[in-house]
């Protein structure tokens, strides 16, 4: 994948090491790649070593990666979670809310569309891994 396609929402330097497939991952490794059928919870003992987790979306509409990312954030992982392969800009809101902070898609993401997409919804209905307060919390404060 050409790095120019990397769309990244983090401000820290990207950790550039290549991702190792989960089957080949050794304790202490800093980057791993999860396929849709991999169990993200297998990484929980290794979150302290990991600097980046790539989660693959080999086909469009493959939805398991959203669960994987969210599970990793729930387990306390704070470094980069990168969505890779077949992804489109219109999925950006779902990706961000599920815990992704970088996307490396096959088709480049138009930055203008990305910006519009990320700013589109002023409110969200349910609590996810991002910082957005769900509407019921805003109502509760009022």
């Amino acid at each position: 994948m050409a790095e120019p396609n990397l769309f990244r929402l983090r401000t820290d330097p990207a950790h550039g090491a290549p991702a190792v497939p989960l089957a080949d991952y050794q304790a202490g490794g800093t980057v791993v790649r999860l396929e849709p059928g991999d169990d993200a919870r297998l990484l929980i003992p290794h979150l302290a070593s990991l600097r980046r987790i790539d989660i693959a979306f080999p086909k469009f509409r493959e939805g398991r990666g959203f669960s994987s990312a969210r599970i990793l954030r729930e387990a306390g992982f704070t470094h980069e979670i990168r969505a890779v392969d077949v992804l489109y800009v219109d999925q950006l809101m779902f990706l961000v809310r599920a815990g992704f902070d970088a996307v490396l898609p096959e088709t480049p993401i138009d930055p203008a569309v990305a910006e519009r997409t990320l700013k589109r919804f002023p409110f969200v209905y349910m609590k996810a891994t991002d910082a957005a307060a769900p509407v019921w919390a805003l109502r509760d404060r009022a």
């Binding site: 509409r61 939805g63 809101m93 519009r116 997409t117 919804f121 609590k127 509407v135 109502r139």
Partner: protein
């Protein structure tokens, strides 16, 4: 009923703007069709045989007169003057243009309506009991729980690319008018000995290629945590539901493969992980929503006795009204099944008339039933005659609720790209044929689907008909003995299929045999079938 606050309105407005942007980009070829198709499906827009079809959401089948008038406006402005009420309590328009859809959605948003997630591999419309808040057999109104689920499931980041569509139904009564055993998740309000309300949770029901009844996976779920429990169910499904074969991708397959006990265990295990994460709103949110569903103020002095000397009116009252829990009131079902008409269709003019009637006589509320009819839930008995006369003039006073001519039919091959055979003409022919004797036949639920996807719910029909393609010709299979009520069963195929004339004759033979076998005129066809089995009917049809 629920009213949007500024947050709800902002979300639906943002969604309209988002779709407008996506349509513009698609029309300029800035998005591929592959990327665009799921986006338009998530806004309820299908490409059918003749044009785009838009499925507008009617959350748990409840709307008011202002919204019904808007549906009439949509029919006139963007379609060909009519709409079709569906088996999931939504409405469909068949002649929509993609380029006009953003304006259409903006019009809907102006009256707190939308087409979110009425298609696609996401959580669909939460359906419910069309007699909610009116029937005496209810523990509590199920719709606040449905509304909370609607909000939670809207644009859910983790569950918008599920293996397949996901359908949830909620009921507040043991009399199941919501068919909860035939949904991916069915929820039933239950009450414990302390009088507290909780939820019984069923998972894994559905029709289609592999029909199955749902399993109870939890007898009691406290209301305080039901959203996080739903998250657990959906996460187990999202992670483990099959994605290799669209006919094996519903949650019912997963529940069946694992077994209900193991599935329930995996849900509990996941729930233990997610329950502490603060996903559940505080009780004040459910209370806030429930306040919108406060019972209407009804006339406490409404007379019970009314003049039934007009025999047509008396018949309509007997067949199409249901007792209301408030004395002197009734629940009215408006039949959209006049024999020979298209089941579930209503013209824009008819929608406007029903809106007026709702406002004048029914506390400004209308319900859509999953049998493709409409309900006015809170009508004074003293007003029934005036109401009936208006309905009669509009062709909406057919007295056939749950009778032989009250047939459910999917749009079928006349409209739908998925269909193998036409279903509406079958329903029309049967309705016309059977209407003259339907009073004698009593409750008889006939359901017709034009393909195995089963949107006509044929597996839940006392008599079910499935259209198939047999060597390039339309062919129809006959199934008997299904029910979507609390006594749920799946209809079974009787024997080889028929052509269009053959299926009509076969149904008539089944009915004639029923009449000779029934224990008395009060024994329903379904009960006779359950008592005597398929053999006598097989013999009557096939000789």
């Amino acid at each position: 009923m629920y009213r949007y606050d500024e947050y709800d309105q902002a979300i639906v407005d943002a969604r309209v703007a988002e779709f407008r942007d996506q349509v513009e980009r698609r029309l300029k070829n800035e998005i591929s069709e592959e990327a665009f198709k799921p986006l338009r499906l998530m806004n309820g827009l299908y490409l059918q045989l003749h044009a785009y079809m838009l499925r507008v959401a009617i959350p748990y089948g409840t709307l008011d007169s202002r919204q019904m008038r808007m549906l009439a406006h949509i029919a006139r402005r963007y379609d060909r003057g009519y709409g079709h009420f569906t088996t999931r309590q939504n409405i469909q328009y068949n002649w929509i243009k993609l380029a006009e859809t953003p304006d259409l959605l903006a019009d809907l948003a102006s009256v707190e309506m939308h087409a979110f997630q009425t298609s696609g591999n996401c959580i669909r419309n939460i359906s419910s009991d069309q007699f909610a808040a009116a029937a005496a057999d209810e523990i509590a109104d199920p719709r606040p729980y449905a509304e909370l689920l609607r909000q939670w499931s809207t644009l859910h980041p983790e569950f918008s690319f599920l293996p397949r569509k996901f359908k949830i139904a909620v009921t507040g009564s043991t009399i199941d008018r919501a068919a909860i055993q035939l949904h991916d998740i069915g929820l039933q309000l239950v009450q414990n000995d302390a009088g507290e309300i909780g939820l019984k949770v069923l998972v894994g029901g559905g029709m289609g290629r592999t029909p199955m009844l749902a399993h109870v996976i939890r007898d009691w779920l406290p209301l305080a945590n039901y959203l996080s429990y739903m998250e657990a169910i959906l996460r187990v499904y999202n992670r483990h539901g099959r994605r290799d074969n669209i006919y094996k991708a519903r949650i019912k397959i997963l529940v069946n493969d694992l077994g209900a006990a193991e599935f329930a265990r995996q849900v509990e295990e996941e729930w233990a992980q997610v329950k502490p994460l603060g996903l559940d709103p505080p009780p004040s949110e459910l209370a806030r929503i429930a306040a919108h569903f406060a019972p209407p103020v009804l006339d406490a002095n409404a007379p019970v006795e009314i003049d039934l000397s007009n025999p047509d009116f008396a018949n309509w009252v007997a067949v199409n009204t249901h007792p209301h829990k408030a004395p002197g009131h009734a629940i009215v079902t408006i039949s959209l099944k006049a024999p020979g008409e298209i089941p579930g269709d209503a013209s824009a003019d008819q929608m406007d008339i029903i809106a007026d009637l709702a406002q004048r006589y029914a506390g400004d509320e209308i319900r859509v039933t999953h049998a493709q009819n409409l309900v006015l839930p809170h009508v004074r008995r003293a007003d029934l005659f005036d109401l009936w006369q208006v309905l009669k003039a509009a062709g909406l006073a057919t007295a056939n609720l749950d009778r032989a001519s009250d047939i459910i039919s999917c749009p079928g091959l006349d409209y739908c790209t998925l269909a193998n055979a036409r279903s509406i003409p079958i329903a029309q022919r049967l309705a016309v044929k059977l209407a003259p004797q339907e009073a004698d036949l009593g409750e008889l639920k006939i359901k017709v689907s034009g393909c195995i996807n089963g949107c006509g719910h044929h597996h839940a029909g006392h008599i079910g008909i499935l259209g198939v393609d047999r060597k390039g010709e339309e062919n129809y299979q006959l199934l008997l003995g299904g029910s979507g009520a609390e006594d749920a069963t799946l209809a079974k195929i009787l024997g080889p299929g028929f052509d269009e004339n053959g299926i009509v004759t076969a149904v008539e033979k089944v009915i004639d045999r029923y009449k000779t076998l029934r224990a008395g005129p009060a024994e329903r066809f379904l009960d006779t079938y359950r008592r005597v089995g398929a053999e006598p009917f097989k013999e009557a049809v096939y000789g």
